[in-house]
């Protein structure tokens, strides 16, 4: 029973956050943290748990974003339709490119994912139906609540929180299932896992497809909140990198790693931009870059592993930690 106290307190605080920090800006910041946490957590499934570092995940993000904006622009449907549509498209893409690409090892896999994402971005930039370079817009004035175009960030916050909890729930369920067991084996040594009979290719593919579907949900939610998507903001490589570094900074392969990473990086970017951006000397990024370098230098396993170590040293039962890929024991 005691084990549930801390989680409950944490959850209560997260739920109460927008009521405690209630300026529009703070609420929006909270919503953004959750949104990026969803994307990073989705990435975590294939990048952290399965150990396949995809640097092209934005292609799935873009699926969801474009699906929701296209549903509105071309069919006058509420952008919400983009969620199931995006999931279908992204899972299909993941299945199609996953088969040949997951055979590649380590860095070659990462490069192939970058190539796929850039290829899709270039194709979309030249496709009129998807807005080409100009992009697609959502409803500027919401028609019904189903359009999910709110002025206040509060509804977004709770919507994203629910989706994040679902994403984390799916991740947790997967990690504790047989699939999760296989993934850990594969991540540690694929050859050994295969020799012991683990269906490595199939498992990696399923993880890839699952991750793709969830990432596209994040993309659709993003498009609904910002009301606009173009090739740079929906399929740009920077988004892939952001997903990745949030998971890495917090702790890849850990359930809450991406959330921690998002909770640090998103406010960090905002604060440095607010304080320094207006001066026009690029200092925002000097500070932001320096902090990331410091964290990578001193805590390559992610912040969460640091916290775990500190608590472990504080006399609590030390949890078995395995570099930056530890899954939690239930």
């Amino acid at each position: 029973m005691r084990r549930l106290i801390w989680p409950s307190v944490a959850l209560a605080l997260v739920i109460a956050y927008p009521l405690l920090f209630s300026t529009p800006f703070q609420q929006r910041l909270g919503a953004l943290i959750l949104l990026y946490a969803i994307a990073a957590s989705a990435w975590n499934i294939v990048g952290g748990y399965a150990g396949q570092v995809s640097v092209g995940h934005v292609v799935f993000f873009g699926c969801g974003a474009y699906a929701s904006m296209a549903a509105y622009s071309h069919f006058a449907l509420p952008p919400l339709v983009g969620i199931p549509a995006g999931i279908i498209v992204s899972v299909l893409i993941a299945a199609v490119i996953g088969v040949p690409t997951l055979r590649l090892s380590g860095h070659y896999f990462s490069m192939a994912t970058i190539a796929v994402a850039e290829l899709v971005r270039l194709i979309v930039t030249n496709t009129e139906f998807l807005g080409a370079a100009v992009g697609l817009s959502g409803p500027t004035v919401p028609r019904t609540m189903l359009d999910l175009s709110f002025t206040s960030a509060l509804p977004y916050y709770y919507l994203f929180l629910s989706v994040l909890l679902i994403t984390l729930g799916i991740t947790w369920w997967m990690a504790n299932s047989r699939m999760g067991f296989y993934l850990r084996a594969i991540r540690d040594s694929e050859r050994a896992a295969r020799s012991l009979g683990a269906p490595a290719s199939r498992t990696k593919l399923y993880a890839f497809m699952l991750s793709a579907g969830l990432t596209s949900v994040a993309g659709a939610l993003y498009a609904m909140m910002f009301g606009f998507v173009d090739p740079e903001s929906g399929l740009g490589i920077l988004i892939s990198v952001k997903m990745l570094i949030m998971a890495a900074l917090g702790g890849a392969g850990l359930l809450f790693g991406p959330l921690v990473g998002a909770a640090i990086l998103v406010p960090l970017e905002e604060i440095s931009n607010n304080l320094l951006g207006g001066k026009g000397a690029g200092l925002t990024f000097v500070v932001y870059g320096a902090i990331i370098v410091l964290i990578a230098r001193f805590q390559p396993g992610g912040i969460l592993t640091l916290i775990k170590r500190l608590w472990a040293r504080g006399g609590k039962t030390p949890e078995p930690t395995v570099a930056a890929g530890a899954t939690h024991a239930p």
Partner: protein
């Protein structure tokens, strides 16, 4: 226990969020938000725009009787608000629509600005003005030319600059005039970059030319920030068009200038649609390679002693470069906004909106060469206009068309280097 750790972290994050949202102390100045690209690929334009707006603030807040009929120059501060000073709060949009929107929200809800100015890139102007529309805050855009911006039925969005179709018309009339003077213009090639700016301007030009009997023989679309343009220049060299119209940002413009020289290609007539070819960086680095290129502008520095000349001197002290058309348009947008606030006599959004709607500035009250500033009910300035300028010596652009605004006659054929 894991959750404890997360708790610690989330509290730290929460504290930093509280910091992020800290609202500054109130004072008697009128605060205006300015969202521009101050980092990333378009930073050159944003940084010049910042210097331009700071010059404008200097003019407004201090007495400058030497600047003639320019509104707000004569007195110090805004007379309509008892001499209150104006302050611009700059925010970097980092070239991203999402960041732009976040900053717009921060400026409106935290910094409590009374109006917004921005955002250079049309896609970002789109998303940032969507926020100001939701909050009922006036937004004045001085330089974004995408047509869609005034087609949204917005009530709080006002655009001072001419738009792509205005420029297409200018090019059309100019080329027809050149044809009447004996210049061949039958084969026209459009070279445009592949992002939102290049594609929309190119399609407007193509449409308008087609409707008026001129056809685009070659449409060369390329990816912005490319590493190499040799093949594109060779395509031009192969087809030998009579007119080449370039729609590029600075980086690509520099590449084209150098590559054309390297491959010894000179079109008989070369036109550029502002952006890269107006950037002082281009003129400094490659101006001597593109002598004779035509451009569009609504701004010219004017004779020594004229208000625009004096303003340029003030701007040069801040930025080190002469005022280019883009920065001048940003400055003009800012002036129009402040003039409206002054006439409103209040910082209440609806009063500013009403004052903007009633704007009726005459040409001698502007730094730009527009016919005036008057907004239609879509928020577009219907008196916006432009003229054709030419980089005749590789260092300065001079107005060459229409005849009544020209300083010298157009020099043809294109000289290059």
């Amino acid at each position: 226990m894991r959750f404890k750790h997360i708790l610690v972290l989330l509290s730290a994050a929460a504290m930093s969020i509280a910091l992020a949202g800290a609202a500054p102390a109130q004072d008697k100045t009128v605060k205006i938000g300015a969202i521009y690209p101050l980092s990333g690929n378009a930073a050159s334009a944003g940084v010049h725009g910042k210097a331009a707006i700071e010059t404008a603030i200097d003019i407004i807040n201090n007495a400058h009787p030497e600047l003639g009929n320019l509104p707000l120059a004569k007195n110090a501060g805004l007379a309509g608000l008892g001499g209150a000073k104006v302050e611009a709060i700059f925010a970097d949009n980092q070239g991203s629509p999402a960041v732009g929107q976040n900053q717009a929200l921060r400026l409106i809800t935290e910094e409590k600005v009374v109006a917004l100015n921005g955002a250079y890139q049309s896609g970002i102007t789109l998303t940032t003005s969507a926020i100001s529309e939701k909050y009922g805050i006036p937004y004045v855009a001085g330089e974004s030319v995408a047509a869609s911006l005034t087609e949204r039925g917005f009530k709080w969005f006002f655009r001072v600059t001419p738009i792509a179709s205005d420029f297409a018309k200018i090019y059309l009339e100019f080329l027809k005039d050149m044809k009447a003077g004996g210049q061949k213009i039958d084969n026209i090639a459009l070279v445009h970059e592949n992002t939102e700016y290049g594609t929309s301007v190119a399609s407007v030009i193509t449409g308008m030319f087609k409707d008026n009997g001129l056809s685009i023989a070659q449409d060369i679309s390329y990816s912005a920030n490319t590493t190499d343009v040799q093949s594109q220049v060779l395509q031009l060299k192969d087809k030998k068009p009579d007119v080449v119209i370039m729609i590029s940002y600075t980086s690509d413009a520099i590449l084209y200038a150098k590559t054309m020289q390297a491959l010894d290609y000179k079109p008989p007539l070369m036109m550029a649609d502002n952006a890269g070819f107006s950037d002082p960086s281009l003129i400094k680095t490659a101006g001597k390679l593109v002598q004779g290129v035509f451009n569009r502008s609504s701004f010219s520095i004017g004779p020594p002693g004229s208000p625009t000349f004096l303003i340029n001197e003030m701007y040069k002290k801040r930025s080190g470069d002469d005022l280019d058309d883009t920065a001048a348009r940003m400055m003009q947008g800012f002036f129009v906004l402040c003039d409206a606030i002054d006439r409103a006599g209040s910082t209440a959004p609806d009063k500013i909106q009403a004052a903007l709607k009633a704007t009726d500035l005459k040409p001698d009250q502007l730094i730009m060469g527009y016919k005036g500033v008057k907004f239609d009910d879509k928020g577009q300035n219907i008196l916006a206009s432009g003229l054709v300028i030419q980089l005749q010596d590789g260092e300065n652009y001079v107005p060459v068309w229409p005849k009544d605004k020209a300083k010298t006659a157009p020099v043809l054929p294109y000289k290059g280097w």
